[in-house]
């Protein structure tokens, strides 16, 4: 029993999110909640996702209606024990709303952590850091490595949650996001070298790595080359565990320069294609229009995935990589088959239903828990 009252607030998913619309409540007033329960659906201009309860207790009050759009940080509801009197709940809400109004006015410009740039071996790499700790003292930091055509925003549903335990770095690989586009030769080795240089540039001695898709192959490569620097590797729908990869996706991603052509390509990423929003497409088109992106993606695709075959497969070398590895997959992955997960032995293999290649977005809560648990014991 506790007298604590906990606020449910509009999360900030990704750098650009300023507000979200509550599309529906999945639980009723008075519901018993466990931490991690899905309680409502939130739609941003970029994506729709479920909001999971950050606390256990009773949903004492819902302060927004379905259909309402509210700013990041706004009160969505209140969780507390049944023993907490209504008057205290009312007082809590009143106080929160008053303070939030003041903070919102002040914070209108200073909205959360800003991305920074590191000079990694002559490459300018963008990264975003959340949470605290640099390894050595306390928890080793976690470095998140996106996949082909992605960027640090791919971890928007993961980075804030994972940053509660440690410093979490998400970076843009060369040729991606806002990192250097020029001089990319392609090849997983080059990208792994860039991540190694990034660790040097940011003063990270040892780190957990989590890589999505091609980023997983990059993590494996680094773990294989410099095992002393890698505490653990989490592979999310990863490349590097088998030959097969969806060439239609890779080529379609490179070729599409119109929304209409791009949409079906991006829909391959999700179990639920309706998650591909117009803003998501627009953001990616904006990325693809940047000077050098076309050449960089072409070079990477040619070096790493020529002819729909992955050039570098670590599956048979995994025992030589002296670093704990886990794999998380979406059962409906249409880019890299979930069967590739079998390269990783139980219990560190997790294939989640109802999710595709972007399992860390579609099943963010579950993925976050799996990563968090895996890292905590290391």
């Amino acid at each position: 029993m506790s007298n604590e009252i906990k606020a449910l607030t509009m999360p900030k998913w990704g750098l650009a999110m300023t507000e979200g619309a509550v599309t529906s409540w999945l639980v009723e007033d008075g519901a018993d909640l466990r931490e991690g329960d899905e309680i409502l659906e939130i739609e941003t201009t970029k994506i729709t996702n479920v909001y999971e309860s950050p606390a256990s207790g009773v949903l004492r009050r819902r302060t927004v209606e379905a259909g309402q759009t509210v700013p990041v940080g706004a009160l969505l509801g209140v969780v507390a024990d049944r023993s907490v009197p209504e008057t205290e709940i009312d007082a809590f809400i009143a106080r929160f709303q008053e303070e939030f109004a003041v903070e919102a006015a002040e914070a209108a410009d200073a909205a959360g952590p800003e991305p920074q740039f590191a000079d990694a071996g002559g490459r300018r790499l963008r990264y975003l850091v959340m949470g605290e700790g640099r390894g050595g003292e306390g928890a080793a930091p976690l470095v998140l490595i996106h996949g082909f055509g992605g960027d640090l925003n791919n971890w928007q549903f993961n980075q804030p949650a994972l940053a509660e335990d440690r410093a979490v770095y998400a970076l843009d690989l060369p040729g991606h996001g806002e990192s250097t586009k020029h001089g990319v030769q392609g090849g997983v080795a080059e990208l792994a070298e860039a991540v190694g240089d990034f660790l040097n540039a940011t003063g990270i001695q040892r780190a957990h790595l989590a890589g999505h898709s091609m980023g997983g192959a990059v993590a494996l490569h680094l773990a294989s080359d410099e095992p002393a620097r890698v505490v653990s590797v989490t592979l999310v729908c990863s490349a590097g565990l088998g030959e097969e990869i969806n060439a239609d996706y890779i080529e379609g991603f490179i070729a599409a320069d119109r929304r209409k052509e791009f949409k079906p390509v991006l829909e391959m990423l999700f179990a639920d294609p309706s998650l591909v929003s117009r803003d998501m497409i627009e953001e990616l088109l904006k990325y693809k229009r940047l000077d050098g992106v076309g050449q960089a993606l072409r070079a990477i695709a040619d070096a790493a995935f020529a002819g729909g075959r992955q050039a570098k497969v670590f599956a048979n070398d995994l025992d030589r990589i002296k670093v704990p590895v886990q794999a998380i997959w979406g059962a409906d992955d249409r880019i890299v088959p979930a069967a590739h997960a079998t390269a990783i032995p139980e219990p560190h293999r997790h294939v989640l239903g109802g999710a595709g290649h972007m399992v860390h977005m579609e099943k963010a809560g579950e993925v976050n828990r799996l990563i968090s648990d895996f890292l905590t014991v290391r």
Binding site: E178, D257, R278, K286, R289, L290, D291, G292
Partner: protein
């Protein structure tokens, strides 16, 4: 990525292209400003400061102030383009077209065709257009339909800072003569614009809103107005697709036609005069190609067929507004 104004986005596009390609030069009246005068160098950077800072970085050889001599310097830009430079010439106000049009439509536009495909004339003419500045009849027009009428010219009408930077870089790299029209009221509008150079291809419309009931096609400053109208109408249960063609030549006909085939209703918004304008042109396009899809007559939202007036009350009445656009949408929904 950072927030930039339309003006800054254009300036950055020019600077980045000048750094990338030594054949890119800019010229125009007061483009640096202060040439030959006793005061500051780079005194103006164009009459509204769009080119400010270029001269200190690139020097007087690549940022050329001109006398007030539009025929000569627009023609010189065309001649320089035909012989190996990539000039970006600034025609201060598009209204000044009247004193240099020959060099644009008889020379630049026709070289390639007349000379059997052997000429390449990569000139960009940047020019300010549009009403809203209390600048009266000779400094407020939207003459892009006139350029659009001329085969051989490409015509670009950017609607925001992001659009302006990518479309200007595309214009500079393009190998055909490009007229790049900047709405003077948009110069201080701010949005996120990538710091890196990027290009937006010509002839590809942007859908700034997607809805089921009505297609609104709008250009330049009118895109923002159409978005506001669409957002207001959404509260009434009417959802609109807003199409920003970005370029009037080439025109993304397919996107417009496809959208009307989906919605069945068309409102075209154009700040240019109504006769022989883009609104009429796009209406004809849809009438010819998607007539059977139309559930209501096409509506055009344009100014009246008058010069742009001076008095603020008159000018405000002249310019299309989000309210007028919303009314037109309600009308086609009725």
């Amino acid at each position: 990525m950072s927030k930039k104004s339309y003006r800054q986005a254009i300036n950055e596009a020019l600077a980045q292209e000048m750094r990338r390609d030594p054949t890119v030069i800019v010229m125009g009246e007061d483009n640096a400003g202060g040439m030959g005068a006793p005061g500051d160098d780079d005194a103006w950077g164009g009459v509204l400061g769009v080119t400010k800072g270029l001269m200190p970085e690139f020097g007087r050889d690549r940022v050329l102030d001109t006398p007030i001599t539009e025929s000569a310097f627009i023609g010189a830009a065309v001649g320089a383009a035909a012989t190996g430079l990539r000039p970006v010439a600034e025609l201060m106000f598009v209204d000044f077209l009247g004193v240099c049009f020959d060099q644009i439509f008889n020379q630049a536009a026709k070289f390639r065709y007349m000379f059997g495909g052997k000429a390449v004339t990569p000139v960009v003419i940047r020019t300010m257009y549009g009403a809203g500045f209390r600048a009266a009849s000779q400094h407020s027009q939207c003459l892009y339909p006139i350029f659009t009428h001329i085969p051989g010219l490409k015509v670009v009408v950017p609607s925001s800072a992001y659009e302006a930077k990518g479309l200007l870089i595309q214009s500079i790299r393009d190998n055909d003569p490009v007229i790049f029209l900047e709405h003077k009221v948009l110069y201080d509008e701010i949005e996120e614009v990538p710091d890196e150079p990027y290009t937006i291809p010509f002839g590809e419309a942007n859908l700034t809103r997607e809805g089921d009931h009505v297609t609104i096609v709008a250009l330049g400053r009118m895109v923002g107005f159409a978005n506001r109208a669409a957002d207001a109408l959404q509260k009434e249960g009417i959802t609109c697709t807003v199409v920003d063609p970005r370029t009037t030549s080439p025109l993304d006909e397919d996107t417009i036609i496809e959208s009307v085939e989906n919605t069945g209703r068309l409102v075209v918004v154009d700040e240019a005069s109504p006769r022989c304008g883009m609104a009429a042109d796009i209406s004809a396009l849809v009438a010819q190609n998607a007539f059977k899809a139309l559930k209501a007559p096409i509506r055009m939202v344009t100014p009246p067929h008058t010069p742009v007036p001076f008095a603020p009350q008159l000018e405000d009445a002249y310019i299309p507004t989000p309210e007028k656009i919303a009314d037109a949408v309600r009308h086609v929904m009725a």
